[in-house]
Symmetry: D2
Subunit: 479 residues, 4 copies
């Protein structure tokens, strides 16, 4: 309420109470002021009340909510279902304009502000999380893979004759498809085995650059976050190499914001060499629903070039989710989540080690991977087939252990014409089958404890009866 | 509740009442059964209660909502903010898999069902709206423009050496950018003026095919819904031509689902020639928030090929919105909206005509455009400058008339390296300035009446004082 | 947002758009201003956005939502469940103080304003609905019956020695119990039969006054809205009689706000005689959940005396519901609902008449009852028992016809020590069994049509087989 | 979804995923089963999803949500505003019937189940909290005071000639008014000072019984939870005395559920003597909005008698709130809240003591009061006036310290004709002014710390300048 309305209220309710109410209102306005002024994630999280108050204020500024609006266009923010209107806080116009997904819409000052602020807060968080010199970023309502495609498509205009993308192998479909979709030819560089760990083959990368000719290479496409025993790519060295050969460098940082190590790699890459853009998933790093990504980089102009490649207005939904989440958590809350994740990584590592020892297995030594762990499944190798390993996978599924992937030997998969031997293991012939588990942001101690308990039961059951039945079906929340 | 729980309830509440409650529950289940069985938009709309009941049931089937789930992966559908969880009905996993945006996710049976059902309902609605022989479609959480890009990128794999897209000019940025973003060279074919109306220059299109060589043409990219005085493209003839030259044909049907004429063009095109895919906006046709599109076509395999091009999981938000909307409206409700739109088109046309007459102008004769109308602004031409026309635009903005665009003469705009003379008018030299107004789905009689009233006031004010002040600032909802 | 925050926003979004947003915000503030200034139900209903904006503003003014509050009391508006907080819009402190349910709370300026405004709006609506000279009222979160008790308990302090309440019989338990609960002895005055209609026996009332002695009579307790064939009491004459004998007069106007006739009776009663308070249900008149009532009267001091009798703070929930409802409907919307109700009364009357004729029955002639109708069930009288009538009742229940009551002959019921012969029929020996149906606010044409259709089927089934089975169980929404 | 619908879903989504979804659904059903079977507060709290699923199921069973319902009654659960419907989870029919607030409604099996279950859970919690032999209880949507009135009104029917209620003085308006409203004459028994503490004067009570004559005494009305330095009444001895003289005993246990000591008193009272009913507030004990109470007792028949005194249906809102809260917290969660409260009582006591020492004051020695503390304000006594004490109160208000009451000397107040000397201090002449602070359920460590900090500042400011200005206005959340 404005001052006039507060004054009118004093006719009905004692003015000292009303004045205190008005003063309390200013407290919330003050938080909004700081947000607008600084464009940063507030240190302390906001209450749901302040968050919803702010979203309500944004909605008021969009033309579909003007009391006196009359619309005779084809895109007026009309909504047929009130359930739908409510769930979007009546912010209907999406983000961006046909020319630029980061641009301001005349019909929707509120949604435009939402868009700008979200990008600003996300930039702040990227800095906080370790990429201190990041210069620009924007949220895009597309998967990480599709966002990578958009980066590649943008680069095409800078390097119209380049056809190849050099890509240290990581066995995850969508980042491979990102290159195919954009119309480029991925040049897969196999990893090298160092101890248990799979690491970037820098020499092979350089060889490929020389073979193909730097001018024919659209970019190097490296990866940070990945499943053990693969380690994050040697981003610093790749960045330096890209710098040397004047080749763009795009980093797939899918769920790397949650790890200071991954972020450090990117920061160092940019300092020591060249990182043109790095792309990260919203859902995996910020605990929001699937569907958005952040495209970020160190050269504002290039990031804007990418944002101008998106043809049309876009969904504001992922931006809204991440804005609500960051305002609610505050910087403190987000940093606490990251600290907990790190702590639970150690816990997971210990628990898996004990379990492995008890079953004659071991946790693979992958010191460079800060998120994912792998435990050998040598005991389930059988006579060359993967039956027991696969069965373990389905036993875990049945017991509602999700995210624990089993990696059998020798699987083959063809994607976009390219055949990957040893698919899922990032290697043509990894020496053993294994199981992955990860400590990702939002994980709880209970998740770890339950997973290890159930895994223990499964392994025992498998040992007793290698091909036997899987009796236990209904998951007991305590076991 | 299941039968057991109903029985237990009879201990507390008379069994005849409980049995009636259980029977009432079956009524809602019955509606869900029909939906699952037929995969069609229900004839009558559902109540909000049934809709939310159904969404709740879907959520229960996603692993993030399992009571006994433990997650040790990097993507577990965790949500930090309960505001965010609620607004997505706890459906967090998005849609699709890395391999295919239309595919099923093991972790998320509920979200997968949502995805399948939405695509099925939307297909039903496309049929109902006039494209009776459509064979497949899917909702994609991207703007129409970006969705067109995805179609072009898919075609690249079929026609790797084709570089050109033939495009009858329509002055809307994002569809032009869609071609640029995908990395192709748009070949702009100017329209021909027939009376007041701008129509496809079929001969020029054919000439271009012959000049460029059919094998070098990725596709013809035509448009249905557009601003008058441009008419929808001659889709039937273009489809036949594409058939003849064996060139793919992609139709931008942005807001054409709401018009039986636009839909008829596509249906006829497919019958008489070739339409490979047609793309339409969710928000403009279904009154949902900005951010989604439907890619549809007559060959299931090709549509699936496109859906397999999207790298990664995607936001379920646009699918959820359109599902809620269609279940709430029902087929009857949607058809009623379309009928009202058509009726209000006539009303708008009459009102504009009267207004035009009163101000010495006229409504341009554009019989082929079923949605948009144009009124001449000859009286505001001034001495060759566009000052008065531009001022009218800003007066309308100030008065909260949204969607009524003014088109001055001779504007030039460069997009992606191509310079458009006479930009916004779909023509290098349209003979007169004009104003657009459209009757799009969801428009009300009040919108039309208010717009005409305010427009009248503005025109009067402009006449009185061509360069004068614009006194009236605060919009009165009644004027 | 305040001016400062709008200005800050102009750094991110063009100032002309922000200014338009700020101006649009003022539109909503303006509506709130009118509400606060006039304390009346707005003529036009508000959008949900404005309603929720306003409720959010109220919440900000309550101490439990102060950002800097620290509480060391026993009643601080703390809420354990966020579901609960949300559903009350974070208005937790209830209404009133221990001294007065209409009083202002220091800790809760927002809830206090809610309370005051609701009472003010409700007063306005009572005036609009026909009791133009009503002087004061308040919403109380209790049933009509309990609210009547509160009135009687208040009167006790004015008339400490009075023990009796004179009450023209109406067969509805809670209004009878209201007197028992308050500790008084109801003196039941039987109605007189005029044609089909049961009307107040004025002479008997006066006889009782004289017999008991006016000073021993706490009040006359009359009723407006009731089931046909009982008519509303002769409130004018009773009011005059109360005036003459100096006896208070309390009117049970349960669902009478929706009928201009009932309201007129009260208005006339107050004009020509004495009406001390009249009590009406919130749910039945305003389409809100069960649980609240309005106590109103023509002497502000007496109404305040009643409000001061409620010991303790009270639930704000019914006040909140009626406030939201009235703001959403607006006076226009409420009046339209009343007009529709009246129209559907005629429709119901016609439909029932046709049905009655077809089955050899008739609609009883009850011209003074504006809401409820009765149709004879002579054909179901059987051999003195009520079997067929009762069966009709259970058949209607099974077929989800709710609210259609069947009244058998000769039922006896004892309540609070008093035995009512012919219970439910308001008469010791009404000549025939019958069925009631009412046209109450919110009823639809479909309700009427379906009810008559199903009733027709039931009557046919009963005729075929007076004691036979009731085959049809599942209700078809269309039949 | 039922089995049939799951099967149909397998057509669209792989059956193993659907089956897992169906199994997950059973997990939630299982929780509901336990609830229905045991009627107890679940040990572990439910997720919001399960809670809302359950409420949705209840709503389906109410006739206003039947798909095929047609209503021709005056009370059909119609709702005009969808905001209102949603916030009540579409449970519109309230609780109870005209005959009994705890009874089942034919039209509303779901709401009836809600009512029964809530009463059952609340009974369980009363047992858990220490009154192990409680036999019956019900939630009533009225303030504690009004609920006490209802108890007194019920007793009137058992003791028609009794006029007096004996009441050991406690200075809280609404419990005094509860007696006045019910039409009885309170007989105030002053407390005795034992050290700092005010305790029940048992001899004076017995004297009054003898003076008035036991048969003329409606009941003894004692109190547990209260502000220090008053202690909870000597409930055991009073109960024994009531037993001896055959007088009913009603205990005002306003916020006593949260204290095992208060609950123990009642349990012992019932064991050693007579407690007919005890009444507690919902909001103060269960952190729900203001407006409900629980009436409980050791004789089921008497409790039912009270529930049958409420004339009419009642609001389900308080029942719904407490049900949601208890399901969400679980017994474990509620017990944790109680344990925290107790712990923070010690913390508050220590902090206040330190503060008191620093200012030359002391915390009064009130060992029998488990919730409230009092700190002397001897230094603010001034020259016999209360100016400084009063100023402290308003300074605390301004600084958003809520719940910290200052008690000046010698205040006089007349309520319902009775004049209380020394009002607020429970004593005609308490020797010193003091300040109250309480550790009530839901309090946080921050509340305590902030309160003590701000209080310290205020006391310092007052010392510096006894009549001076109060500079600090805006509360800093950290100070």
């Amino acid at each position: 309420m404005n001052q006039e309305n507060f004054s009118l209220s004093e006719r009905m309710v004692s003015s000292s109470y009303i004045r205190q109410g008005a003063q309390a209102r200013r407290g919330h306005e003050q938080l909004i002021r700081q947000l607008l002024e600084q464009g940063k994630c507030p240190e302390r999280g906001w209450s749901e009340l302040t968050v919803e108050l702010f979203l309500g204020e944004l909605a008021l500024m969009d033309s579909n909510n003007f009391l006196g609006n009359c619309g005779v266009g084809e895109r007026e923010g009309r909504v047929a279902s009130s359930l739908v209107a409510r769930r979007h806080y009546r912010l209907i116009h999406g983000i961006g304009r046909s020319g630029d997904i980061a641009a301001v819409q005349p019909k929707a000052a509120g949604s435009s502000l939402l868009n700008k602020l979200t990008n600003s807060l996300v930039l702040d968080i990227l800095k906080l999380s370790g990429v201190r010199s990041v210069a620009g970023c924007f949220v895009v309502p597309m998967a990480t893979g599709m966002s990578l495609s958009l980066c590649f498509l943008t680069l095409r205009h800078r390097r119209p004759s380049a056809r190849y993308i050099i890509w240290p192998r990581i066995d995850q479909k969508s980042c491979f498809k990102a290159m195919i979709t954009a119309g480029f030819e991925p040049v897969v560089v196999e990893n090298v085995l160092e101890g248990d760990e799979l690491r970037t083959d820098l020499e092979a990368v350089e060889r490929q650059i020389q073979t193909l000719g730097a001018e024919n290479v659209l970019c190097v496409h490296s990866t940070t976050s990945c499943f053990a025993p693969r380690a994050p790519d040697r981003v610093e060295e790749l960045a330096a190499m890209c710098s040397k050969y004047d080749i763009p460098h795009i980093v797939n940082n899918a769920y790397g914001v949650q790890s200071s190590k991954c972020m450090h790699l990117i920061q160092q890459g940019a300092r020591l060499g060249r990182v043109d853009a790095f792309v990260q998933s919203l859902d995996k790093n910020f605990m929001v629903p699937v569907g958005g990504a952040i495209i970020a980089g160190f050269d504002k102009a290039f990031i804007q070039e990418i944002s101008q490649m998106y043809p049309g207005r876009a969904s504001a939904s992922p931006s809204l989710d991440v804005l609500i989440t960051l305002l609610t958590l505050g910087a403190t809350g987000y940093k606490r989540l990251l600290a907990e994740r790190k702590e639970l990584y150690s816990f997971l590592s210990q628990e898996l080690s004990s379990l492995a020892t008890a079953h004659g297995e071991r946790v693979l030594h992958t010191p460079h991977n800060p998120i994912s762990l792998a435990m050998s499944l040598d005991g389930l190798r059988g006579d060359g087939d993967n039956a027991a390993v696969t069965q373990l996978g389905s036993m875990l599924f049945t017991r509602q252990v999700s995210g624990a992937r089993v990696i059998p030997l020798g699987k083959e998969q063809t994607i976009g014409g390219h055949t990957f031997r040893g698919f899922m293991s990032h290697s043509e012939a990894y020496p053993r089958p294994y199981l992955n588990a990860a400590s990702a942001v939002g994980i709880t101690r209970d998740d770890v404890a339950l997973c290890v308990k159930r895994l223990d039961k499964c392994l025992k059951a498998l040992r007793k009866d290698a091909g036997g039945g899987d009796g236990c079906i209904s998951p007991d929340p305590d076991v």
